[in-house]
Symmetry: C2
Subunit: 213 residues, 2 copies
């Protein structure tokens, strides 16, 4: 029927991804050749390219799975009542943990995500739509609690914090921040700076005290 062929295609695609997870994890991205990947998936090299257009696309699919998982976990663990700063830190620090677990993966992933090739642009946009979906509700609640100005476009606010997150990670890759604690502290510092401007006037005094070191 209509499904027979398509089903096999799904299976093959899954086999490739499974092999990718195994090999990438074991020997790293650069050290895994497409040929090797194909063998591990039980198919020929050329076949891989009828499922994915490029090697990095396979990698992105792999990362998406991982991130999906992590994001679900983070969402479940988050506390909607906590102060905004707290929630943001928890979220982004979780995100960073994924990156820091494997430096190389994270680098490739971020490079591709933050500065995508024109062709990968669509994928990248979907990816950080996920960020938006997660963060916007948090911001709305914060607005309701009076922790965040209500005259802002929340998508821009998302971009603002995401930017600071990226910068912190970048500092880590450049060797300016070393440990996970350094990163956490750097992020907190930047977030506080941002919040002082993002919080409505009434809340500013509180933010300055409560969040200030």
């Amino acid at each position: 029927m209509a499904g027979v062929r398509d089903q096999k295609k799904k299976q093959t695609r899954a086999a490739i991804l499974k092999a990718a997870v195994k090999l990438f994890s074991r020997q790293g991205y650069e050290q895994t050749s497409i040929d090797q990947l194909a063998r591990a998936a039980g198919i020929g090299k050329g076949t891989v390219y009828s499922y994915f257009q490029t090697k990095s696309e396979i990698f992105l699919a792999f990362c998406e799975e991982q991130l999906e998982f992590i994001n679900r976990e983070l969402a479940a663990r988050s506390n909607p009542e906590a102060p905004l700063l707290q929630q943001l830190l928890t979220f982004f620090q979780g995100e960073f943990r994924f990156v820091s677990r494997n430096r190389e993966f994270g680098r490739i992933f971020l490079r591709e995500t933050v500065f995508p090739k024109d062709f990968t642009g669509e994928r990248a946009r979907q990816l950080d739509d996920k960020y938006i979906d997660i963060l916007i509700p948090i911001f709305k609640q914060a607005q309701a609690r009076g922790e965040l100005r209500t005259d802002l476009e929340l998508i821009v606010v998302t971009g603002h914090f995401y930017a600071l997150y990226i910068m912190t990670v970048s500092a880590w890759y450049m060797g300016r921040l070393h440990s996970e604690e350094d990163v956490a502290m750097g992020m907190e510092l930047l977030f506080e700076q941002a919040l002082r401007g993002l919080a409505p006037i009434k809340a500013r005094e509180a933010a300055a005290h409560g969040a200030g070191k």
Copy 2:
């Protein structure tokens, strides 16, 4: 003498870079092979690798020259009396112009700069030390004029704005911002948001009015 050999080395290095400028500009980075580059510089392929460790290193050297030039120009053209927001926008918009002139160059450059490989880390750090050298004086003047809080580590402030710049450029690469004007507006929006928190209390009203559209 001591200089004979060394001088020739300088010449060869320069020849490689010159060839790189020509070929990269004419046919793009990916489309230029090392072999081609070597021929154009009048040397063998292997020799190239005794001057640069990798292709992207050649590219970075090329970018550094360009940026050096652009930064000098921007510095000369800048007006130390102008409002902080104005100066920042001028600077980063100039920076962006370099990137937008050639999408591909900019992407590779930013990828390598923001998320450097461990080996390239040193180079990347030097590069954004340049940013620091340029921006810190601007911030100090702004502090003197009362436009910027004086209780901040200026290096973190630099990071903050640089982060927002990176984010804006990223949005451009992802196709969320299209024209140079879009980018300029997005940047201004983010910078204003940041400034509201960065400016000392007395200046906040002014910033909100003067900078608000």
